[in-house]
């Protein structure tokens, strides 16, 4: 490292503090271990998504904590306090809208991050555990979206939760218990709001911090996978360290994401609907856009009836989850080049296409409902 002062110069106060800490915790060694991670084949723009997700999470935690200075998680004050944040508190509209668009950015980047790992074959041995923990993190992100949606306590919030919890009710045997447990009663109310609030601001963040730490630790144990083609000698020649080239790219990525979220918050700030009540008036319930494809495919005739509903809402998504979990254990072929893995490529294209198709058709469907 370059922080050794030239011989004869008096150390500055900052250097003295650094030395003081370094003597006690080995700061230089720690920094070296953090920064001197070799990136096989060299740093790339394609590798920025993990760091960006960490950045988005930190910003969600910061904006979320700020929102809690005014937000009150009770059925009689949640809506009023959210309106107060939006209309009365200085820059409240921006912080709340940033938090809202941040969650969208999180989902988009999670999808990009997972797709990349899948297409690059980076889930394969020895990185199976990173993949598994990553899937758990994906579930947590979805949980954040679902629980956070209820908190403003407007009609959109109320109905997304009503339908979402009814879907959970379709789990065999445990369903009724789970749905009541989550709602804290037979119908959404104060208990539901309390539960979703504590899950959103305590349980999920704690789990996410722990699992993201584990994710990084496992990643550091295994090391980056690198590109899927190129001779070892060539990759070795191109290898550099995490710092400075990759960090530079990550930082630029974070800045771009920050600018995008801020721009969305500025031009499309959050607008609440009427306060939550079991009578929706003219409002047509709809979940957040990243759940729209599930919402839309539940409209299909094949997912009607008791069993069809279970299949559509729990069975198939659950099966997909289990398949993704088992993926690194069944796919033992060390080939990582996506163009030599036709099933993986076709599978990814079909899944992505169907998600887009169902999302778009849900949006098109809107205008036929009024």
């Amino acid at each position: 490292m370059s922080d050794i002062p030239p011989a004869g110069a008096q150390p500055t106060v900052a250097e003295k503090i650094f030395t003081f800490v370094d003597e006690r915790v080995g700061l230089k060694l720690l920094a070296a271990k953090m920064l001197n991670e070799s990136v096989p084949g060299g740093s790339r723009w394609a590798y920025v998504f993990g760091s960006i997700l960490l950045f988005i999470f930190i910003m969600q935690a910061v904006t979320g904590a700020l929102l809690m200075f005014y937000y009150v998680p009770t059925a009689d004050h949640a809506y009023a306090s959210t309106q107060y944040i939006l209309h009365d508190v200085d820059y409240g509209w921006f912080l709340l809208s940033y938090h809202f668009w941040g969650s969208t950015a999180m989902v988009v980047c999670v999808f990009a991050h997972m797709s990349q790992v899948f297409l690059w074959g980076a889930y394969k041995k020895p990185r199976e555990l990173i993949w598994l923990v990553g899937l758990a993190l994906f579930a947590l992100v979805m949980g954040f979206g679902f629980t956070g949606y209820l908190l403003p306590w407007d009609q959109r919030a109320y109905w997304a939760t009503t339908v979402g919890v009814e879907i959970m009710d379709k789990i065999p045997i445990m369903g009724d218990f789970l749905a009541r447990f989550l709602k804290g009663g037979p119908t959404p109310g104060q208990m539901t709001l309390s539960r979703f609030f504590v899950i959103h601001v305590m349980v999920l963040p704690a789990a996410l911090i722990a699992l993201a730490g584990l994710h990084l630790f496992l990643f550091r144990c295994a090391g980056p996978a690198g590109p899927f083609r190129g001779a070892p000698a060539e990759l070795k020649a191109k290898t550099d360290y995490f710092f400075p080239r990759q960090i530079w790219k990550d930082v630029v990525g974070m800045a771009v994401v920050f600018a995008c979220i801020s721009a969305m918050a500025f031009w499309e700030p959050v607008v609440l609907l009427e306060e939550a009540t079991p009578d929706p008036g003219d409002y047509h319930p709809e979940p957040e856009w990243y759940f729209l494809f599930i919402f839309q495919h539940l409209r299909l005739k094949m997912f009607s009836g008791e069993f069809g509903q279970f299949l559509g809402s729990m069975g198939l998504p659950g099966l997909l989850g289990v398949m993704l979990m088992l993926l690194p254990f069944f796919d033992r072929n060390p080939e990582r080049n996506i163009f030599k893995r036709p099933f993986a490529l076709i599978g990814w294209v079909m899944l992505t296409a169907s998600i887009i198709l169902f999302t778009v058709s849900a949006i098109i469907n809107r205008e036929f409902l009024d």
Binding site: P186, H284, G305, E306
Partner: protein, 310 residues
């Protein structure tokens, strides 16, 4: 200078072998012993005090070869590697590479029996702390899950609002709720009423009065088959959204749920879409003055049979 591994070891009279390992003192962080591989005659543990001089590739001892042969033989099982223990800062003092760098395995740890027992004891202790908490914590969290059902009658409006037969008319009403510690609040709900023609009534009742029972099987109310008014719970039996009365291109006027597009006719029968059962009929009575009263009931969505939850 610290002795290097693989250095030749020379005694006063002759060369006896090479340095095969180095043993560190965990407190002073200094090298305390060399392990000398005696050219096939085993390994000896030589204290640093016996070392006279150290160069790049040679360790000169101040003893004779026969004295070294008489020193304590090296026992590997008395040591652990520095990677197996955490001694902060130790690595900074090691300039001996490559190979194993050791600290003594503590005297007290050498003959501990029942290691597995003690390991398991920690799990058992954890269980003793955790298990008694499971039941109270579950009960704590489950407190509000099962609320008693309310069979009180609620006024929802006057029947004069309904102009046409076999058409769904929404009646909005307010219901007082008192949820746990919260102050009493009013929530808005809705119910759909249909003034039914005999054909629709026949479809619904099929010649029999409809009896409503509480959870223990006692009758709460009976909807008479000749009362021409039907009340349907505002909650869609598919996934619990709120449905509307709408014009449909093919099916004419129907109940349509905008969420997942379940469609019902004026009698509540499923015409299309994913719904598993007809709309949920509610107990209804109409006074002489035309005031409609209902018992507000909600049923679990998504099941073929009705399970009342409110």
């Amino acid at each position: 200078m610290q002795p290097q591994l693989k250095s030749k070891v020379r005694c006063l009279d002759r060369e006896v072998g090479e340095v095969s390992r180095v043993i560190m003192d965990p407190l002073s962080h200094e090298v305390s012993h060399l392990v000398v591989s005696m050219n096939g005659a085993g390994e000896r543990q030589v204290p640093m005090g016996a070392v006279q001089a150290v160069t790049d590739d040679l360790v000169q001892l101040r003893t004779s070869s026969s004295e070294v042969m008489g020193m304590q033989p090296f026992k590997r099982e008395d040591y652990v590697t520095i990677h197996e223990v955490e001694i902060p800062g130790l690595e900074k003092h090691i300039h001996v590479t490559p190979g194993e760098v050791l600290v003594p395995f503590p005297e007290l740890e050498r003959n501990v029996k029942r290691r597995a027992f003690f390991a398991n004891l920690t799990y058992v202790t954890g269980l003793f702390i955790g298990l008694p908490l499971v039941y109270p914590v579950m009960k704590f969290l489950m407190k509000p899950m099962y609320a008693p059902l309310d069979n009180g009658w609620l006024k929802v409006g006057n029947i004069g609002k309904i102009k046409t037969e076999d058409v769904g008319t929404q009646f909005q009403y307010k219901r007082k709720i008192k949820e746990v510690y919260m102050p009493e609040a009013e929530i808005e709900k809705n119910v759909w009423l249909v003034k039914a023609t005999p054909a629709v009534l026949e479809k619904v009742y099929q010649g029999k009065d409809r009896e409503f029972l509480d959870s223990s099987g006692n009758a709460i109310w009976t909807n008479k088959k000749d009362l021409p008014f039907l009340a349907f719970s505002g909650k869609c039996p598919h996934l619990g959204c709120a449905y509307k009365w709408r014009q449909h291109k093919v099916l004419g006027q129907v109940f349509l749920c905008p969420c997942h597009l379940s469609i019902y006719d004026a009698s509540g029968k499923v015409l299309d879409g994913p719904a598993p059962r007809p709309l949920d009929m509610l107990p209804i009575q109409v006074t002489a003055g035309g005031e409609v009263q209902i018992i507000d009931m909600e049923f679990k969505a998504g099941t073929k049979s009705q399970t009342r939850i409110v």
